[in-house]
């Protein structure tokens, strides 16, 4: 197994799937000649040519809809949003066209498309460039929403997303592109959508974390171990469909849950997970489910304020101590 960055893992997944299926093509802003705004698509233009790796103008609604149309007649587009902040311009096509086409056509037109790009905070890029939008997309039946947190997950899940026949929202994290991890060399390595992963086993409390919060939850778990609290860390990896069974199984063991997330708390994914735990495992809970979310404010620019807005290891540690009634 090679140790590579998430950026390289995504690049490998794209390369392998472009190689595997002639109907797969990649388009987005600066994905080709510029080699990708975050270099995820580096080298792909040279390898696959401009027919299959396509620079678009800055016209998100236009190229998102173009991708959906192409998917209606058999192509498998991968549409990169330079960041998911810009996907907001394309939401009509993602929600009204991609998510609903199969249903409203009575099963006649499936939409095998992947919308991918970085989601959530970056480094001091302020309000319009730092938004975690997973709860928006997870709201809609018809869409699948994926959020990897390791290099292996990034590669395996992206390959599955490209091979899937439904529209998949694939949310990366800019702060994590350089994170390294072991990735199997096998070209057929994939990770199925809709399956959570237990990133660390434990007995006293469950931390459900995704994307940027996974490494933080693992660090929090290490710290809590020193304080005598054994934490299980679960990464759902796919937000919709959510593998609630794995989460519930853990709760039945630990009886205490913290959900850590970068997005805003109000109507966030954490609220959904918390509700599902209440509905399915209320009798197992020894404390109310506690959320650790991004601050309920637009993202500020100033470094110190930005740090305060994003959940930290300390926030997660404090929340676990709270549900364990240690403080």
């Amino acid at each position: 197994m090679a140790v590579i960055t998430i950026r390289e893992a995504l690049n490998q997944a794209l390369r392998e799937e472009l190689e595997r299926d002639e109907n797969v093509f990649l388009m987005g802003e600066e994905v080709a000649a510029y080699q990708g705004a975050y270099k995820v698509t580096k080298g792909l233009l040279e390898e696959f040519g401009e027919k299959r790796v396509i620079d678009t103008p800055i016209t998100e609604l236009g190229f998102a809809g173009l991708g959906v149309g192409a998917a209606m007649v058999g192509l498998r587009p991968i549409v990169e949003f330079m960041t998911f902040n810009f996907s907001i311009l394309a939401t009509d096509q993602i929600i009204n066209s991609a998510a609903k086409m199969l249903y409203m056509s009575g099963g006649q037109f499936k939409i095998p498309i992947v919308f991918r790009g970085p989601n959530g905070s970056a480094f001091q890029v302020s309000s319009q460039h730092s938004q975690a939008l997973e709860s928006w997309y997870a709201f809609f039946p018809g869409l699948k929403v994926v959020m990897p947190s390791t290099a292996a997950d990034a590669k395996g899940l992206l390959k599955s997303a490209i091979r899937d026949d439904d529209p998949v929202i694939f949310l990366e994290q800019e702060r994590m592109y350089g994170n390294k991890g072991e990735v199997p060399d096998d070209k057929d390595f994939t990770i199925p959508l809709g399956v959570a992963d237990v990133k660390r086993e434990g007995t006293d409390a469950t931390i459900v974390a995704r994307s940027l919060m996974v490494p933080m939850a693992l660090r929090a778990a290490e710290e809590l171990e020193k304080q005598g609290v054994s934490c299980e860390v679960i990464d759902p990896r796919t937000i919709r469909p959510l593998d609630i069974d794995t989460i519930v199984k853990s709760v039945q063991k630990t009886n205490r849950v913290v959900v850590a997330e970068e997005c805003h708390p109000f109507c966030g994914v954490g609220a959904e997970i918390s509700t599902q735990i209440n509905e399915r495992a209320f009798d197992y809970l020894d404390a109310p489910v506690r959320r650790v979310s991004g601050a309920d404010v637009p993202m500020p620019y100033a470094k110190n304020l930005e740090n305060l807005a994003i959940p930290s290891v300390a926030h997660i540690v404090a929340a676990v101590r709270e549900v364990a009634y240690l403080d």
């Binding site: 236009g62 998102a64 149309g69 998917a71 209606m72 096509q93 249903y103 056509s105 009575g106 018809g142």
Partner: protein
């Protein structure tokens, strides 16, 4: 290739765009006098006569049949709607039949068509059986979208009819993508993407036209300019009302077409098809037409005068075409009666089929959400 191959501009068109009034008010004075108008209409009649000479009787009568079928099926739908058998929105196409029929008659069966929520006419012209359209309007399992789409979302993969889309302008990027896929796969099918003139004010229109010309995608954009976006007239909503001229902004070929003349529409689309198949080039067609009914079945119609509607009804595309065919000796009363009779039988059959078709089974609520469902109910 001639860019901006805009045909003779309509003097009537100039007058028409200034005539949107509220019912209580008098219609504004026309900029063109009546004699000039009738002169133009006489000229257009001549044009239609000439076009008739160039076509065989079978083709001509088939076009007439399709237009009459759309009209009668929709009249039946309106009746069923008022009886509560059809729910939701129901946007009728009556008055615009020449556009769908003329345009689609210029295509091959393997070409693609998609349109807005006002989709009954295009769906019929592209070949979705009347039975399945009516059953879809009734919300029945036998409908072309299995009862899940309704009036605004007719689909049929078998005849390459890719939908009724109900967000104004939403189908324009989709059509562009279908044309992209055709070129990507090395095919030569054309995509015909219909939309109303109100969609021209949406960003989706402009983004799509830019991409289509930039990437040379074989899509024909057919703007059905019926002069009202719901109750808001063209002059209240568009700074440059000459839609075909907007193609210039994207260096795209365009034409202005009389949408009341089925053969004029057919010929314009034939030219666009030629351009698309040969050079992968898109075209914007502005087809001037008029809807005789309200925006939807619940439209009070207080934004235009009875007189205005009647003026356009004089140029009813079915009446015009019927008269021309008779004048040219292609059609007589007996063959017209035969068409009406066959249409009536088809419409009655469709209604019976819709009435007798089952409601979708309750378990259908959860099917077709995902092509690859995962785990429990998602």
């Amino acid at each position: 290739m001639t860019k901006q191959a805009t045909q003779r501009r309509s003097r009537a068109g100039a007058e028409e765009s200034g005539s949107a009034g509220v019912a209580e008010k008098e219609a504004p004075e026309t900029a063109v006098d009546a004699s000039e108008l009738s002169e133009e209409h006489a000229e257009r009649k001549q044009d239609q006569h000439q076009r008739i000479e160039e076509l065989d009787q079978e083709t001509l009568l088939k076009l007439l049949y399709q237009m009459v079928l759309i009209r009668r099926l929709e009249e039946k739908a309106a009746e069923a709607y008022s009886l509560g058998k059809i729910g939701g929105f129901c946007h009728l196409y009556i008055g615009q039949e020449a556009v769908a029929v003329g345009a689609i008659s210029a295509l091959r069966p393997d070409d693609y068509v998609l349109t807005s929520y006002r989709d009954h006419g295009q769906a019929l012209a592209k070949g979705i059986p009347a039975d399945e359209i009516m059953a879809e309007l009734y919300g029945k399992a036998g409908g072309c979208s299995s009862g899940k789409g309704g009036s605004m979302h007719l689909f049929d993969a078998d005849v390459n009819f890719l939908g009724g889309h109900a967000i104004v302008g939403g189908q324009i990027p989709l059509g562009t993508g279908i044309a992209f896929a055709t070129k990507y796969k090395g095919g030569d099918q054309m995509t015909l993407c219909f939309f109303g003139e109100a969609a021209v004010n949406q960003g989706a229109f402009h983004e799509s036209l830019n991409l289509a010309q930039l990437w040379k995608l074989p899509c024909i954009y057919v703007c059905e300019n019926n002069q009202y976006g719901m109750g808001t007239s063209l002059e209240r909503s568009m700074s440059l009302r000459d839609v075909s001229r907007k193609a210039t902004a994207y260096d795209m070929a365009s034409e202005f077409v009389d949408g009341m003349d089925v053969l004029a529409v057919r010929e314009a689309v034939q030219r666009a098809v030629e351009r698309g198949r040969r050079e992968f080039l898109p075209t914007l067609l502005e087809v001037r037409t008029y809807r005789f009914m309200g925006h939807s079945m619940s439209d009070p119609g207080n934004y235009r005068t009875r007189a205005e509607i009647e003026k356009y009804q004089e140029r009813d595309p079915i009446k015009l075409f019927t008269a021309s065919l008779k004048e040219k000796g292609v059609l007589d009363d007996a063959s017209l009666a035969d068409i009406e009779k066959r249409v009536r039988a088809e419409v009655e059959h469709a209604q019976r089929f819709a009435e007798e078709s089952h409601e979708p089974a309750p378990e259908e609520l959860f099917t077709h959400v995902y092509a690859n469902p995962i785990g429990r109910k998602q």
